[in-house]
């Protein structure tokens, strides 16, 4: 069911329901001994009501994508391409890459593009209680004082945090409670798009499921979520669409059911096979260093299906269900 809706939205990628459209995004970091190719020519579209999971190995550029959209990159980053945010069909799209830090800080970051950070323990200021943090955020976003108190408790309940725990300081919270507080803070301004960067790291299974379900409900209410995760099972539980990132590029995008049953890119298939409930076999070799990406397909050196053609960078080809960047996608052979 989820798969069907996702197929419909993916094929109609230029429809009015798109809320975030990333187009040819490229991010480079200048470092001492070279240039890190963190994100390369990345395009994706996020629709209203869609939960898009970006999955991939550690160090493939997933988190940089999140930080780029929020304008949180360090000074040695060079960004090109576009990311158009259009919160409602009646407003003009805003290019968050080029709109400038002032605009981003005043109107967008937190307000329209929310972030659930990767490590809440370091993201929360230790000198304010959860309640103060939440009420402060709510009031900064226009809630009158007397309503903020009420809303803070409602948000806490929504993310599964006991309102009594709001009176604690962040360092008095467990990792899971801090994570839920960070989620509540991100939800407080009611952003059209929520970017969740590994929101379940360090949580146990019931809490993981709870956090994921909060994100899912958000999408069911018509908002959009970009979930950045290494956890394939998390993606399977809540995503409509899965985008696989490898060595700075998105190599495949599919509706979630199709991704898990019939991945087109050999890398996607190998990643799924590494799950303990499948073969539990690691992908041979290493991902390439982002400072020294090969000219052709970056996966070719590890790929059992590679041929001479793979020395050229494959184009992203739109398929019936999604998109794949591969000279020899798997369905071709089947």
């Amino acid at each position: 069911m989820i798969g069907e809706t996702a197929t419909a939205t993916v094929t109609a990628s230029t429809d009015r329901a798109s809320v975030l459209r990333v187009d040819g995004l490229t991010v480079r970091f200048r470092i001492r001994d070279g240039i890190v190719h963190a994100v390369t020519d990345l395009s994706l579209t996020l629709h209203r009501g869609e939960l898009l999971a970006v999955v991939g190995e550690s160090g493939c550029g997933k988190s940089v994508l999140a930080h780029t959209l929020l304008g949180l990159l360090p000074a040695n980053a060079a960004v090109s391409g576009h990311a158009y945010l259009q919160v409602s069909p009646d407003t003009a799209p805003i290019d968050v890459i080029h709109c400038g830090e002032r605009r981003l800080a005043r109107d967008i970051r937190g307000r329209q593009l929310g972030l659930v950070p990767q490590s809440p323990a370091t993201a929360l200021t230790p000198v304010r209680t959860g309640r103060r943090l939440l009420e402060e955020t709510l009031r900064a976003h226009g809630s009158p004082r007397h309503e903020a108190a009420h809303q803070a408790e409602r948000l806490a309940r929504e993310v599964g945090l006991d309102p009594a725990d709001l009176d604690r300081y962040p360092f008095e919270l467990s990792g899971g409670m801090a994570q839920r507080l960070a989620t509540a803070l991100a939800l407080a301004p009611d952003p059209a798009v929520l970017i969740a960067d590994e929101p379940t790291t360090g949580l146990d299974r019931p809490l993981v499921d709870h956090t994921l379900d909060v994100l899912r409900r958000r999408c069911d209410a018509g908002y959009a979520v970009l979930l950045i995760t290494h956890d394939l099972r998390a993606a399977r539980r809540v995503a409509d669409t899965v985008a696989v990132m490898y060595a700075s590029r998105i190599v495949e995008r599919q509706p979630v059911d199709r991704f898990f049953t019939a991945p087109a890119h050999p890398y996607s298939a190998a990643l799924l096979d590494a799950l303990p409930e499948r073969t539990f076999r690691p992908i041979p070799g290493h991902p390439p260093m982002l400072t020294a990406l090969p000219d052709g397909c970056a996966y070719a050196p590890r790929c059992p299906r590679a041929t001479a053609r793979c020395a050229r960078q494959p184009e992203v080809t739109t398929t019936e269900s999604g998109a794949v960047a591969c000279h020899r996608p798997r369905e071709e052979a089947a």
Partner: protein
């Protein structure tokens, strides 16, 4: 009870500020065996691992190694005993000294055995290769590598002391499927080669089913009776 080879917590009770965290826990890990430990957040899993790694001295009960009770914790435990047990944490960011280059992070336990710096670094390079770290990463510091790469370095460091028991506290929970499978295969190879005992703390039923020889459940600081096979 104490006459078998193995690392065991015997009737261990731990409380923090009067709150019981572990109550009368007895768990034995035999050489060559992989014991899974499963429980909710706050059930006492990590505390049990810390007790078994001699990082925390229990209020009552003790840890025994091959039948010998070990009293005290940390530096009160002689190094030749302490180094027989290695602990791999969930978050390598929190565990790794941010000042050390990866090569020295891995070489430090080798140096501690009295090896010369060059020899220790040489060993470190071998270990790095075994865990799948490319040589170019070894000169970097923790903030310059990814979580997966840093966890590989922490595993190499743990193996550098050639432990007889390796305790993995959610050590692969934050890693992608391929990195998890690769670290698991490195640990399983080491385990076979060394006949090492492994404690595998995990929330992941699929991982436990695939890897552990037996699984023990813990709730509110008490081990639950094993399910009949």
């Amino acid at each position: 009870m104490s006459d078998v080879r193995g690392l065991a917590a015997e009737h261990v009770t731990v409380s923090f500020d009067g709150t019981p965290v572990l109550t009368d826990v007895t768990l034995r890990i035999a050489r060559g065996e992989t014991v899974g430990l499963r429980g909710a957040s706050g059930s006492g899993k990590s505390t049990l691992a810390r007790v078994l790694a001699f990082l925390h001295s229990p209020d009552r009960g003790h840890v025994s190694l091959d039948g010998t009770p070990i009293i005290g914790a940390r530096f009160r435990v002689p190094p030749q005993i302490r180094t027989r047990v290695a602990l791999l944490f969930q978050s390598p960011r929190a565990a790794a000294d941010p000042r050390l280059r990866l090569v020295d992070l891995i070489a430090e336990p080798v140096r501690a055995t009295g090896a010369a710096r060059q020899e220790a670094r040489h060993r470190a390079r071998d270990l790095a290769d075994r865990v799948g770290l490319t040589p170019d990463l070894l000169d970097r510091r923790p903030h310059e590598v990814s979580d997966g790469q840093l966890q590989r370095a922490c595993l190499a460091r743990a193996l550098a002391q050639q432990p007889d028991y390796l305790l993995c506290d959610e050590a692969t929970a934050m890693l992608d499927a391929s990195t998890q499978a690769q670290l698991a295969s490195v640990i399983i190879d080491y385990q076979r080669h060394r006949d090492a005992g492994v404690l595998l703390i995990s929330h992941d039923p699929a991982l436990l089913a695939r890897w552990a020889d037996r699984v023990v459940d813990i709730a509110d600081g008490r081990l639950l009776a094993p399910a009949p096979r």
